[in-house]
C-alpha cells in the first residue's frame, strides 16, 4: 500500500510539472502577440513593457523563462499584477482559498449524502415514483448550466420571494468563519444547495444503474440463499460494490469543481473565492492572476485525484497491483 501511495504521488508531481509546462507554453510561446504585451495588460506604456521583459527574461531562452516564472510563482511569491498595479498575486490567491474550499467541501458533503441516498432508494424501490424522479434529476444534472440555476435561485431568494418566504436569506457574499459558524453556513446555504442539487442527480442516477446491475449478480443471489435480510444484502453487499465507481467519479468531479463549476457559482453568488478572482482577472485580461489561479486550481485537482486513487486502492485491493 505504501509503495502504491508513493508511486501515485510521484505520478501526481509529474502531471503537475507537465501542466505547468503546458500553461507556460500557452501563455508564453503561442505565436502571435509579444508575451510581454500580454502580461502587461491592455495599453501598457513602453516602460512597463521593458520592466516585464526584464523581470520575466523574455530575451532569454524558453527554459530559463520557465524557471523564472516558476520562481515568481512558488519561491519568491512576488508575481505582480500589472493591471492592478503592485498587487501581489499569490497572497491574493491564498486569501481566496478558504472561500472556495468552504463552498466546494460543503456542497460535496450535501451531494454525496443526497446522491447516495436517492440512488440507493431508487435502486431498492424500482418501479415506484422515486425512480423516474431520480432519472429526471440526473438528466437535469448534466444539462442545466449551474451558473444559470444559481441566478434563478438568486432571483427567487433575493428578489421575488425575499419579502415573504425567504426574508431570512442574507444578502449575497461570504461571511468568514470568524463571524461564527451560523453566519458562515447561512451565507453559503444556497450556493451549496445549487451546486449539490445538480451533482446529486448525476450521482443518484449512476448509483441506481450500478445497484441494479449489482442486484442481478450471483453474489447477491448467494446472499439471498443464505437467508440474509434484503436490507443487509442491499447495504452490506450490493451498495458496497456499487460505490466504487462513485468514489472515482467523485475525485474527478471534486477537482473539476475547484477548477470550473465552482468558478461560475462563486461569480453568481458573489463569493470572493479563487473563481471570482479568475473571473475578475478575465474581465481585464490580467494574465499573471489568471496564470496563478490556473496553476493553483490544477494543483488541487491533481492532489484530489491522487487522494481519491489512494482511497480507491484502499477500497479495492486489485487496483494496487495495476
Amino acid at each position: 500500500m505504501i509503495g502504491y501511495i508513493l508511486r501515485r504521488f510521484g505520478a501526481a508531481v509529474l502531471v503537475l510539472f507537465a501542466i505547468s509546462v503546458l500553461v507556460f507554453l500557452i501563455f508564453f510561446a503561442t505565436p502571435g502577440v509579444d508575451p510581454a504585451a500580454r502580461i502587461a495588460g491592455k495599453n501598457a506604456d513602453p516602460a512597463t513593457l521593458a520592466q516585464v521583459r526584464a523581470s520575466f527574461g523574455f530575451d532569454r531562452p524558453l527554459p530559463v523563462q520557465y524557471v523564472l516564472m516558476m520562481k515568481h510563482l512558488f519561491v519568491s511569491h512576488d508575481l505582480t499584477s500589472f493591471v492592478n498595479r503592485g498587487t501581489l498575486v499569490i497572497p491574493q490567491i491564498i486569501d481566496a482559498v478558504p472561500v472556495t474550499l468552504s463552498l466546494v467541501v460543503g456542497a460535496a458533503v450535501i451531494w454525496m449524502v443526497l446522491g447516495v441516498g436517492m440512488g440507493t432508494l431508487a435502486g431498492a424501490m424500482r418501479g415506484t415514483l422515486v425512480d423516474p424522479l431520480v432519472m429526471l434529476l440526473g438528466v437535469f444534472g448534466v444539462s442545466l448550466p449551474v451558473y444559470w440555476l444559481g441566478e434563478v435561485v438568486n432571483l427567487i431568494t433575493q428578489k421575488q420571494l425575499h419579502g415573504s418566504v425567504f426574508s431570512w436569506v442574507p444578502p449575497l457574499g461570504y461571511a468568514p468563519l470568524s463571524q461564527g459558524v451560523g453566519q458562515w453556513a447561512l451565507h453559503l446555504l444556497f450556493p451549496w444547495l445549487t451546486l449539490a442539487l445538480l451533482y446529486a442527480g448525476i450521482y443518484a442516477r449512476l448509483l441506481r444503474g450500478e445497484l441494479i446491475n449489482a442486484l442481478n449478480e450471483d453474489y447477491v443471489r448467494t446472499a439471498r440463499a443464505k437467508g440474509l435480510s434484503e436490507r443487509r444484502i442491499l447495504i452490506r453487499h450490493a451498495l458496497r460494490c456499487s460505490l466504487i465507481p462513485i468514489v472515482s467519479l467523485f475525485g474527478l468531479d471534486f477537482g473539476a469543481l475547484v477548477g470550473g463549476a465552482a468558478l461560475l457559482t462563486e461569480v453568481v453568488f458573489g463569493l470572493p473565492g479563487v473563481g471570482k478572482l479568475t473571473y475578475q482577472a478575465l474581465q481585464n485580461l490580467d494574465l499573471p492572476v489568471i496564470m496563478g489561479t490556473v496553476l493553483y486550481a490544477a494543483f488541487f485537482v491533481v492532489l484530489a485525484n491522487a487522494v481519491v486513487d489512494v482511497l480507491y486502492a484502499r477500497l479495492d485491493p486489485r487496483v494496487r497491483r495495476a
Binding site: 502531471v15 501563455f27 502571435g32 434563478v152 432571483l155 446491475n213
Partner: protein, 342 residues
C-alpha cells in the same frame, strides 16, 4: 429476459437488416428519444429561421445598439430604454416583455436590442459551436485513439501521456487559458489561420479540450480488437495497416463514436455557454445563449426574462440532446439494456 427476446426477434424476422438499420429501428421505438429528437428539430428550425423573424416579424436588427428606439405597447409609444427611476436615476431600464411577437416579445437588453431576435441568432451560434466542436472532437479523438490503440509502442506511450495531462487539467481552466491567449491574437499554426474574433476559435478550443474524453475509451476498444481473430486474418491476408484500420477497426469503433456525438454536443454547448458567460467565448457583437445570460446578469432583478429565457434554451436543448444520446446508446448497445443498466 423479455428484453433479450425483443432484441433478437426483429433480426429473425428480417435477416437482411444491417446493424445500423436495426439500431435505427430500436431508436425509433424509444418514445422519449423520439420526443427529444422532435424537440431538437423544433429548436433548430426556430433558430434557422432567425433572419426571417428579425426581418419580417419583429423588423429589428439584433446586432446594433438601439438606445433611442421606441416601441408600441398597448397602443402607446414608449422608449425602449427608460431612464431608471430608482436610486440616483443614473441607469437605464430596458423595456420588459411585451408578449407581442411583432416587437420586443421578450423585451430588450441594456442596449435596446430585441432579446427574442438575439435569442434565435444566439441559438444558431450555440448550436453551431456545440455540434461542430463535437464533430471535430470526435474526428480527432477517433484518429488519435485508433492510432494509439492500433500501433501501441511509443506512439501509444506518447499519445496516452498527452491524454493523461489534458485529462488531469481542469477543462474550464484549460479552455480559459487557451481562450485568453487566442482571443487577443487569433490562431496561426501552419496553414491554419483563424482570426481573433472568429466563431471558429471557440469551436477549436472546445473540441481540443475534450479529445481525451472520447479518445481514451476508443483506444481501449481498439486494443481489445487487436487480438481478435478477424484482425489476425486480415494481417494474414497481407492487408496494409491503413487498410486494416479503415476496413476492420474503424467500423467496429464507429458505434461508440456515434454514441458520443449527441452527448458531446450537449456538453460542448454547455461549455460554450459557460465560456461565453465568462466573456472568453463568443465575442460581441455576435451572440450566443451564454452571452445573453451574461447580458441578463446585470438586469436579473429588473428584467429577469432575458436570463431565464436564454438559460431555458440552453437547458432544454441539453436535456433533449442527453435524452436522445441515451436513446442512441441503448439502440446501438443492446447489451447495456440486457444488463438492466441506466
Amino acid at each position: 429476459m423479455t428484453a433479450a427476446v425483443e432484441t433478437v426477434a426483429p433480426r429473425a424476422a428480417r435477416p437482411s437488416a444491417g446493424p445500423w438499420r436495426q439500431a435505427l429501428r430500436r431508436l425509433a421505438r424509444n418514445r422519449s428519444a423520439m420526443i427529444a429528437a422532435a424537440g431538437l428539430v423544433l429548436i433548430v428550425l426556430a433558430c434557422a429561421l432567425a433572419p426571417v423573424y428579425a426581418g419580417s416579424i419583429a423588423h429589428t436588427d439584433p446586432f446594433t445598439s438601439n438606445a433611442s428606439g421606441t416601441a408600441v405597447v398597448n397602443g402607446a409609444r414608449v422608449p425602449v430604454l427608460a431612464q431608471s427611476t430608482e436610486g440616483l436615476g443614473l441607469g437605464v431600464t430596458p423595456i420588459g416583455p411585451t408578449w407581442n411577437p411583432g416587437s420586443f416579445f421578450l423585451g430588450a437588453d441594456n442596449q435596446g436590442r430585441d432579446v427574442m431576435a438575439r435569442l434565435l441568432y444566439g441559438g444558431r451560434n450555440s448550436l453551431m459551436i456545440g455540434l461542430s466542436s463535437a464533430a471535430l472532437c470526435c474526428v480527432l479523438a477517433t484518429l488519435l485513439g485508433v492510432l494509439a490503440g492500433y500501433f501501441g509502442g511509443w506512439i501509444d506511450a506518447v499519445l496516452s501521456r498527452f491524454f493523461d495531462v489534458i485529462w488531469a487539467f481542469p477543462v474550464y481552466l484549460l479552455a480559459i487559458c487557451l481562450s485568453v491567449v487566442l482571443l487577443t491574437s487569433g490562431l496561426h499554426v501552419g496553414p491554419i489561420h483563424i482570426d481573433a474574433g472568429s466563431l471558429a476559435l471557440p469551436v477549436v478550443i472546445i473540441a481540443l479540450i475534450y479529445v481525451p474524453y472520447v479518445a481514451r475509451p476508443l483506444r481501449g476498444q481498439v486494443i481489445a480488437l487487436r487480438n481478435k481473430e478477424f484482425l489476425h486474418a486480415a494481417v494474414g491476408l497481407g492487408a496494409s495497416d491503413l487498410r486494416i484500420m479503415r476496413r476492420e477497426v474503424l467500423p467496429n469503433v464507429l458505434p461508440t463514436v456515434v454514441v458520443f456525438l449527441p452527448l458531446m454536443t450537449a456538453l460542448n454547448m454547455l461549455t460554450e455557454s459557460a465560456l461565453s458567460f465568462l466573456s472568453v467565448g463568443v465575442q460581441s457583437p455576435d451572440a450566443s445563449w451564454g452571452t445573453i445570460i451574461n447580458d441578463g446578469l446585470a438586469l436579473l432583478y429588473t428584467r429577469p426574462a432575458i436570463t431565464i429565457a436564454a438559460g431555458l434554451c440552453v437547458g432544454l436543448t441539453a436535456v433533449a440532446l442527453n435524452v436522445l444520446g441515451d436513446g442512441v446508446r441503448d439502440a446501438l448497445d443492446p447489451n447495456a439494456r440486457l444488463r438492466g443498466g441506466a
